[in-house]
């Protein structure tokens, strides 16, 4: 037979090495982990010290970092599914606000118990997301537009539910009070070391990793993002998959909203403003392609923590918020450039 090779003309790619991998592709695959390690090393080097102790590595400080990112992390996990299908969900921050308001008002003014409240709020998130997914697939609308509308709708609903007020959550036994166990979301377990919000994030990330990497559904998600038309022709239920991923982001945003209400004893329509952009940044830094078809949960988790660690070390050194924004911007651009380089090496981009 002909000695087929990768056409070196189409792209200056290495010529079909049997086992050899492009080092650049490897870097991108693990870019967020590498970034996390670099930020951690930088954190250790530049950390302020007190009596020789490196503040950055102080267990309390580590707990601060992973707690602070848990809400955006949960959202980023959901967002990873959507972005792998080459979609986007801008409504997540607003759905977080809606969920925190509904959580607070169900328990405080509605007199509902903890379990019914949590189940109802999670169901609300799923339904909200599924509606957005259905509108997007049924009318072939860009998810950008549909979820932009969803963002407005969720903020509006949150204001309606809250009656333009914020709702404080007080604890106790009786009407108008939330069960005290709910406040555990703002606490730390295991000898006051592990924030509960972080535990929720980690468990959700683990489940999501398993779903994405080992289930039929996960495979469908990659297929839809890899090439929607090809997936359809191969018999993948494309519309169902798309609706499902938006339901997942809705679920994630609702879960984050519950965690928010529990951590801050509070529900406000303004909660979670701008979280969608932080989550998207974490996903992209995690190596998931906005073009769809490629991505990793581990990357998203690492990207999330990396952004949190970066903000932490900058603040510990009293560096201005302006610099924090600029540093984040530089990292996003770097991540995107690395991805684009790999695409070009694969001869797929230009």
């Amino acid at each position: 037979m002909s000695d087929d090779k990768i056409s070196p003309a189409s792209a200056p790619a290495p010529a079909a090495p049997q086992k050899h991998r492009d080092p650049l592709a490897l870097i991108v695959r693990f870019q967020s982990l590498i970034g996390l390690v670099l930020v951690a090393i930088g954190g250790i080097i530049f950390s302020p010290r007190r009596h020789g102790e490196i503040l950055f590595l102080n267990p309390d400080n580590i707990a601060n970092i992973v707690r602070a990112v848990s809400e955006t992390g949960i959202i980023a996990i959901g967002m990873t599914f959507v972005i792998i299908t080459a979609g986007i969900d801008l409504s997540v921050g607003a759905v977080l606000g809606l969920s925190s308001v509904v959580t607070a008002s169900m328990m405080i003014s509605g007199g509902f118990g903890l379990i019914p409240t949590i189940l109802a709020v999670l169901a609300l998130g799923i339904v909200f997301g599924a509606i957005q997914g259905t509108i997007s697939t049924r009318f072939r609308l860009e998810p950008f537009i549909v979820t932009l509308a969803g963002l407005q709708a969720a903020r509006g609903l949150a204001l309606v539910v809250s009656g333009n007020q914020y709702i404080n959550i007080s604890y106790g036994d009786g009407p108008g009070l939330a069960p005290p166990v709910f406040a555990v979301l703002g606490e730390r377990l295991f000898n006051n070391t592990v924030p509960v919000a972080t535990l929720v994030f980690v468990v959700f990330a683990a489940v999501a990793t398993i779903v994405l990497n080992t289930t039929r559904f996960g495979r469908y998600v990659f297929a839809v993002g890899g090439n929607e038309r090809a997936a359809r022709i191969s018999g993948v239920p494309v519309s169902m998959v798309k609706i499902a991923v938006y339901a997942i982001t809705g679920f994630a945003a609702a879960l984050a909203g519950i965690v928010h209400a529990g951590q801050f004893n509070f529900g406000s329509a303004n909660d979670g403003m701008g979280y969608e952009l932080t989550a998207i940044a974490a996903v992209v830094i995690g190596g998931t392609s906005l073009f769809g078809g490629a991505g990793s949960m581990v990357g998203t988790v690492a990207g999330t923590i990396m952004l949190g660690a970066l903000a932490n070390i900058l603040q510990l050194n009293n560096i201005t918020p302006a610099m924090q924004l600029l540093a984040t911007a530089a990292i996003i651009v770097l991540a995107a450039v690395l991805q684009s380089l790999v695409r070009r090496r694969e001869g797929l981009g230009r």
Partner: protein
Amino acid sequence: MTAPLLVMTGAVKRFGGVQALRGVDFDLKAGEIHALLGENGAGKSTLMNLLSGVYTPDEGTIEIDGKPVRFNNPREAQAAGIATIFQELDLVPSLDVAANLFLGRELMRPGGFLDVPAMRREAKKRLEAIEIAIDPAAMVADLSIGQRQVVAIVKALSYASRVLIMDEPTAALTVGEVERLFDIMRKLAATGVGIVYISHRLEEVPGIADRVTVMRDGRVAGITEPHAPQAELVRLLVGRPLDELYPARIKAAGKPLLSLKNASFKLARDSAGWQAPQGVSVDVHEGEIVGLAGIMGAGRTELLSALYGTGLSGRWEGEVAISGKPVKLDSISAARHAGIAFVTDDRRGSGLMLRMAVGLNLVMSVISRISPNWLVSPHRQAEAVKESFGQFDIRPKNPDIAVGALSGGNQQKVVLAKEILGNPRLLLLDEPTRGVDVGAKGEIYARLRALAAQGLGILVASSEMPELIGLCDRIVVLRQGRNVAEFMGGVDEHTVLAAANGREA
């Protein structure tokens, strides 16, 4: 013909450790059509990219009119009179023809306003100069692929080109369009333009080329006359004599599989340019390969996609049966349920997930089979991948690399293998060897015949007449959505063409 217009001597180009060109000599005379043949990876695209300034050679020289030149980018090559028409035409579909022709060099009125009438007039003049009737005000998106090709040529020539490089210009054209393109090329050559013509289609070479250069493994394998026997060209291309390109037919046709009797596809909404099947009667038996011939727009692709439910929405009327039982083919799931599989003519656009690994692509149509209990079984996946690699000689033999990095032929093998894995009873193929080199073609034909021998029915649409004639047991000719003639395989090409064009042979 006179002194060479362009001479390339001892060109070497390396990409990392890979030597794409290993010392190539090439020359082009004014007014000459010089065909450049080679399998994928033979180096012809690299050679083209050196001439058009995309890459600079590591060693060797390029001379124009005897003067050495060095291009650092495509702009410099253009300035020297070398224009290139790439396979993916660089036209903007949402602009009209005139706007595309003047893109970046718009004619202006005083005050910075576009002079649209002047551009349209000038565009019309240029199109008429090569006797082409395309409305300069038409949107490029509304033009056929063939018409777009012509626009791209006119655009390239408007840079006052002396050398025109065409990369597989006929890949997406119908027979009639190819003839018209060749006419234009001959006219251009007569005005003194030198044309480098890159193609996969051996059979086109004698009709158009003055000279043929065959490349293999980054070297020139030979320079021959265009009328050299095809076997000789194939030997140069592949490096050894190739046995018969088309496998022997096996009389194995069994029971009727697909039968369409006076079947029409009624569109939910009228759509211009989509030739829905109109009263088609076609049978495909088990073990039989049936070809669909016809000019562009005759409804070949539309018939296949209507059967598979991927085209426009609508419903079938008339008799549509699989194995004698009437079926309602209105969706992809209905078609798959009936045991139908489909391979599109656009493997990059709708066949493959290019960035994903070969293995993941292969199992795409059998995800449910490899994921009992909704969990993907790595073991079953590995078995399925192994089965595919057994069916088709996919190179490199590595399921973990991105499918987009494979050559066209190997990509096509992946698409086919993917659908075969699903154990279909009827396989619908649209242009199964478009952009595939000769070696891979032969292998694909052999596999298709072997699969048919096991009882698979195949319905294949192609614009390459020799492919239909060589591969198929029967050829059904479509015109305006209906079947107008039927021939046995091996029929004379002119007979089929005449039927396709509605003429007497």
